[in-house]
């Protein structure tokens, strides 16, 4: 037998494998422990592994999220607002816009109206409770619409690239170059102001942000090996976009959407403040709008709904921060 160098090399390489045919140690399945293998030989394995762990492991992300006091406060306050919004028709079955008492009752002056009444004798507490419904409805619905459209446009642009990307990016840029609030005012002024049109208008001005973010994520993930592997298995474009790439692109989109809800609530309030809201429903913005002329004599009429907006928006931002920490591997690493 001719003993080549390679042959010798092989007999050496062959011996260990024959004996250790199935010697791979079972990896611990406890997600919090991390992998059992060492990173000595592959220093980059640690960073790769940690990013996948935090992205994939919902339970771990939830733990990080719940151990963050700010996020916890934000979540509980938001839950509180949602409960209020749901209970408002039960607690105050009457129309909050109807006159129920003497005008200009200060908070605490009359136990029937704990937060007082406004210039027309409408109950402020009832207004705030009912106002939370419209604020949350507009915030959540506008975000859901903007998110759906933005993710769709962004994923198509990012995934296909080429002329599809060019066309869609131009479309995004058209919306981004217009001052968004001016566009919003124009849109609402053209259409009849109602909860639906306000929601649609807010969705129209908020989708480009999501689209850009999604596009950037898709462009990065599209180049990953597992997407190439998916293509090599004969998957179609839709399957690759929605099953392979989108779940991996979600964390930053989720974080953004919580802030988007807050922005939508603020925009609705601003519109109502300017008198461009739905005149038939009470909202926090419209309450501030009607109270602003009396701000020197009856400041509580603007301050109370203002506080409601401040705390709700703050809660949503805190949730966004918490989600960012929990879902973003760079920040959750050392927690």
């Amino acid at each position: 037998m001719s003993s080549t160098d390679i042959g010798t090399f092989h007999s050496v390489a062959r011996t260990p494998y024959a004996s250790s045919a199935e010697a791979e140690p079972p990896v611990t399945s406890n997600p919090a422990d991390g992998p059992a293998w060492s990173n000595v030989k592959a220093p980059d394995a640690r960073s790769q592994q940690s990013s996948t762990v935090t992205v994939t492991n919902g339970r771990r992300a939830l733990k990080v999220f719940l151990s963050n006091p700010n996020a916890l406060f934000g979540t509980s306050f938001l839950v509180f607002v949602i409960v209020i919004a749901l209970l408002a028709p039960v607690l105050y079955p009457d129309d909050p816009l109807s006159m129920v008492g003497r005008p200009f009752l200060w908070p605490g002056q009359d136990s029937a109206f704990p937060l007082g009444t406004d210039s027309l004798g409408r109950d402020v507490l009832s207004g705030i409770l009912h106002g939370s419904r419209i604020s949350l409805f507009v915030g959540l619905t506008a975000t859901a619409l903007g998110l759906t459209f933005g993710v769709l446009v962004g994923s198509l642009a990012g995934y296909f690239g080429g002329w599809v990307d060019d066309v869609l990016v131009r479309l995004i840029e058209i919306f981004q170059t217009l001052p968004s609030f001016v566009l919003l005012v124009v849109l609402v002024a053209i259409a009849q102001p109602s909860a639906t049109t306000v929601t649609l208008a807010i969705a129209v001005i908020s989708w480009p942000t999501v689209a850009r973010l999604t596009r950037a994520e898709f462009r990065a993930i599209r180049e990953k090996d597992f997407v190439m592997a998916a293509r090599s298995l004969g998957y179609g474009h839709a399957r690759i976009i929605f099953r392979e790439i989108l779940p991996n692109a979600l964390p930053p989109i989720i974080v953004t959407s919580s802030v988007m809800v807050a922005t939508a609530i603020l925009m609705e309030s601003a519109l109502s403040f300017m008198g461009l809201g739905d005149p038939n429903v009470v909202s926090w913005g419209s309450m501030i709008g009607t109270g602003r002329e009396l701000v020197r004599t009856a400041w509580y009429l603007t301050a109370l709904p203002g506080l409601a907006i401040v705390f709700t928006v703050l809660a949503l931002n805190l949730i966004g921060d918490g989600l960012n920490d929990a879902l973003n591997p760079r920040f959750s690493q050392d927690r």
């Binding site: 001719s2 003993s3 080549t4 160098d5 390679i6 042959g7 010798t8 090399f9 092989h10 050496v12 390489a13 062959r14 260990p16 494998y17 250790s20 045919a21 199935e22 010697a23 791979e24 140690p25 079972p26 990896v27 399945s29 997600p31 992998p35 293998w37 030989k41 394995a45 790769q48 592994q49 990013s51 996948t52 762990v53 992205v55 994939t56 492991n57 690239g161 080429g162 990953k224 090996d225 597992f226 190439m228 592997a229 998916a230 293509r231 090599s232 298995l233 004969g234 998957y235 179609g236 399957r239 099953r243 392979e244 779940p247 991996n248």
Partner: protein
């Protein structure tokens, strides 16, 4: 019998470069063909061309790829998609990143079966467990619900193999399947591929730069340099009697364990220069690095000649090189 895959004069062109030129080879059913060469020699691009997954900038400028009686270059996107994963499958170099991190391995394997064999969710899961067993993953019923990060590198590569062979492909392309794994796992994975090849009667294109892998697992070897086939032989012939100066250099550069030789005892042999040395020049692409180069090498690309049965070599001076004493240094 007609070969399963016949690549005929394949040329791949980028706007400014031609990474693969006039490459031809054949694979019969159930055969393992190894494509060897250093980084940048066009091995991976050839694999991607077989899958029709070349990067956007790259174009197949000429040639034909006949697979099972059909020219892959003539198929439209939909037909090619149907072929991928079911008749031609591929496994990649990096098991760490080739699995979707947010999906359990069971669902990833089931997905292939749902796409190509229209299996229901329950049946696909059952097949996924069987496939995990086929690739020798212990406790497959439990492992099927694991996420990729819960598995070691070797296990992930096994999962990749399970996905690739799920639909019993006729041709499996393995693009450096063991480069990212350590040596003991390497041997296990290659052994598994070989077993599966026999059980499923697949042909395998094994792309590698590891000559040790070639000697043990290949039926036929193609040595590529700068996008061209420079030598083709049966592995035994190639290792006993390399003809092309590049092949000789490759073999000499492999670490030897003979006579307790250790790399601390002396420098490893190297091939001076790099693969880009000859970019844009006429003549033999290996000429700038070849210690046997002569003036005539710079005039035109050497043609493949048949020095012996089952052999091809693209160097006109192989017989004279043999007489050169330098060859004895390889201790063959």
């Amino acid at each position: 019998m007609a070969p399963l895959l016949h690549v005929d004069n394949l040329t791949i062109r980028f706007p400014r470069a031609e990474p693969v030129s006039n490459l031809s080879f054949e694979i019969a059913e159930g055969e393992t063909l190894a494509i060897v060469g250093e980084s940048g020699s066009g091995k991976s691009l050839t694999a991607l061309a077989l899958m029709q997954l070349l990067p956007r900038a790259a174009k197949v400028a000429s040639g034909r790829i006949r697979f099972n009686g059909r020219d892959l270059l003539q198929l439209d996107a939909r037909e090619m998609r149907r072929l991928r994963g079911s008749e031609i499958a591929m496994i990649f170099q990096e098991p760490m990143t080739s699995l979707n991190p947010v999906m359990t391995i069971g669902r990833q394997i089931a997905e292939v079966l749902k796409v190509h064999e229209r299996l229901s969710g329950r049946a696909a899961r059952k097949r996924a467990i069987e496939l995990l067993e086929l690739v020798r993953i212990p406790a497959p019923e439990k492992r099927v619900d694991d996420y990729p990060h819960q598995l070691s590198g070797g296990m992930r590569q096994r999962v990749m193999i399970a996905m690739a062979v799920a639909c019993k492909p006729k041709l499996l392309i393995a693009d450096e399947p063991t480069t990212a794994l350590d040596v003991t796992i390497q041997a296990q994975v290659l052994d598994l591929l070989d077993t599966l090849r026999r059980e499923l009667q697949m042909a395998v294109v094994l792309i590698t730069h590891d000559l040790g892998v070639v000697s043990q697992w290949a039926d036929k070897v193609v040595v590529m340099y700068a996008g061209r086939k420079v030598e083709q032989a049966l592995p035994g012939d190639l290792f006993n009697d390399p003809l092309h100066p590049y092949t000789r250099g490759l073999l000499a550069a492999s670490p030897r364990l003979k006579n307790d030789f250790h790399y601390r005892d002396g420098a490893l042999t190297e091939i001076p220069g790099s693969i880009v040395s000859a970019a844009g020049e006429a003549g033999c692409p290996f000429r700038p690095r070849c210690d046997q180069a002569r003036a005539s090498c710079g005039q035109r690309v050497p043609q493949l000649t048949i020095p012996a049965p089952d052999r091809l070599v693209a160097c006109p001076f192989t017989s004279s090189i043999k007489a050169v004493p330098h060859a004895a240094a390889f201790s063959l």
